[in-house]
């Protein structure tokens, strides 16, 4: 058997040939393709969410020296199915003074936003919903719709905690979008394309040394931290800080509507991990992927799950930040760092160095900026602790 035939794209070719053989017009065929592709992504996402929730609960439990779900099915695998059944049968409450249409629209918009983002994620070479030439920009645009859903939920619930959650959503998501976008644009500068598939393609060669995480580690770090905040994960989960505002914008939601927010939360984490894997970890690139294209799916899923695992690890380990610490960390540390790095990388690329030298130069630049920022932050923190003011950065445990 020819191993290069193991390519997911061939399924699409075969499907199209079958439809053409049935004598359909090309317009109808592309319409069927769109509908089938969208349905496949939808089913994949819904199944994925169940798996992700199980993984995260198990991981968090093990990290916190607990067992986690272990009653329903082997290793608690069916726990999520039971949970979904429970949520489906729960009473669907709408608060008395709620703004009904907005209240019901918000969870749908939250899930819609994540599903739309999945359209531009390349699962393997060419296996992508829509390889638009503005892929990275499209992701930013879709991401900015997410804040709208939380705002709508927060306002329409007619609950003061939900409203405070809404305020926090705007403050946090708008602020952290800036370093996130800047960090995503740095690989775009290096690769010279905004296509998601093109970005993954540009990271081939040298057995994984072409991944941008090696040449641009600081950009990856900024991206990862900002992605934690965009994904509303600890230590940046102030939107739903139980101890402060009970549950944030989704406090009044129950039953399936709450489940939709939950779904959007986990899928959002996964999408951010997938974007990070595509832009910084080479996406579907890996050994022998040129010979056996189907291996790309495995590499991509493995890298995405690795990033998801680190997100869950951070969530289970770190305590929550205070809101002013979070905002000042974004505006005083991440944004200047990302801007500086962006300009420095652009200038380095203009020098026109040969490929290996350029990679080393970018790596050196990244490390210099990272170390300089760390030195500045620790100095400022020492001074502010001495002056008895508010801490500048997340407080380190003092031994």
């Amino acid at each position: 058997m020819d191993l290069s035939q193991l390519d997911l794209r061939l399924i699409g070719v075969w499907f199209n040939n079958m439809l053409a053989g049935a004598g359909l017009a090309p317009g109808i065929i592309s319409l069927i393709n769109w509908v089938v592709g969208a349905l496949l992504l939808l089913i994949f996402a819904l199944t994925l969410a169940i798996a992700l929730i199980w993984i995260e609960r198990k991981l968090a439990a093990r990290l916190q020296d607990r067992l986690g779900p272990n009653r329903v099915g082997p290793y608690g695998l069916l726990q999520m199915v039971a949970d979904v059944l429970k949520l489906l049968t729960k009473e669907d409450i709408t608060p008395l003074e709620a703004d009904r249409v907005t209240y019901n629209l918000a969870p749908a918009l939250a899930v819609f936003q994540v599903m739309m983002a999945m359209a531009v994620i390349p699962f393997a070479n060419g296996v992508i919903g829509a390889d638009v030439n503005i892929g990275v920009l499209y992701l930013m645009a879709i991401g900015s719709v997410g804040a709208m859903a939380a705002l709508m939920a927060g306002w329409s619930s007619n609950n003061k905690y939900a409203l405070v959650g809404g305020f926090r959503v705007v403050a946090q998501l708008l602020s952290y979008e800036i370093p996130l976008v800047m960090a995503m644009l740095i690989p775009v500068l290096v690769a010279g394309t905004m296509r998601m598939n093109g970005l993954a393609e540009a990271q081939g060669g040298w057995f994984g040394l072409g991944w941008y995480v090696w040449t641009l580690p600081t950009a990856f770090l900024i991206f990862f931290i900002a992605a934690l905040a965009e994904g509303e994960r600890a230590p940046f989960d102030l939107l739903e800080a139980e101890s402060e505002i009970v549950a944030g914008f989704n406090i009044e939601y129950s039953g399936m509507k709450f489940a939709w927010f939950y779904l959007a939360f986990f899928l959002n984490s996964w999408v951010l991990a997938a974007v990070g894997a595509t832009i910084f970890l080479g996406g579907w690139q890996g050994p022998f992927v040129a010979q056996i294209p189907a291996l790309g799916v495995i590499y991509f899923i493995a890298k995405t799950l690795l990033l998801f695992f680190i997100q869950a690890w951070v969530r289970a380990t770190f305590p929550r930040l205070r809101i002013d610490q979070m905002m000042s960390f974004c505006w005083k540390v991440l944004v200047p760092m990302a801007l500086l790095l962006f300009i420095a990388v652009a200038v380095t690329l203009k020098l026109g160095l040969p490929q290996p030298v350029q990679g080393v130069a970018l790596l050196g630049l990244n490390l210099v900026i990272l170390l300089a920022t760390l030195a500045l932050v620790s100095r400022a923190q020492k001074r502010s602790v001495g002056a008895g003011k508010r801490a500048f950065a997340p407080e380190l445990p003092r031994l």
Partner: protein
Amino acid sequence: MAQQALFLIMAVFTLGMALGTVTSRNIFHSALFLVGSFAGVAVIYFLLEAEFVGVAQIIIYIGAIATLIIFAIMLSRSVTGQNGSPMNRQWAFAALGAALLFAALAWLFSRVDFGSTAQPVPEDAIALIGAGLVTEYVIPFEVASILLLVALVGAILIARERHS
């Protein structure tokens, strides 16, 4: 064919949302209608093969401007919804003026003959726009950046609470 149908649907949608923005009694609903009309215009940009502008429309208008307006609505919710009619007394004159404005614009547009075929938009439109912003239009671009910086500083200065 499909393009015309999509244009018609999006035009009706956008106009409905715009009408909602102007007439809604609930200010939060007004803002949501505004978001809808922005989204409708973004889809029309995609129809016009201006993908970059369409995405920028979503990022800037929906992601930033509409979100900020809703934020302001939430902050000022204690003073909204007071005293009666949301319209002022000149609504009849204003409606007449708006209708006249539309008639004048429509007359103006109908006088122009664009010919039958549109010119094709270049393939690598994004690269051309990017190059245009830093070569031919570099002065408007820089002026816009300075304007944004000044607006940023000014907004902070105006909105700052003075502790006395």
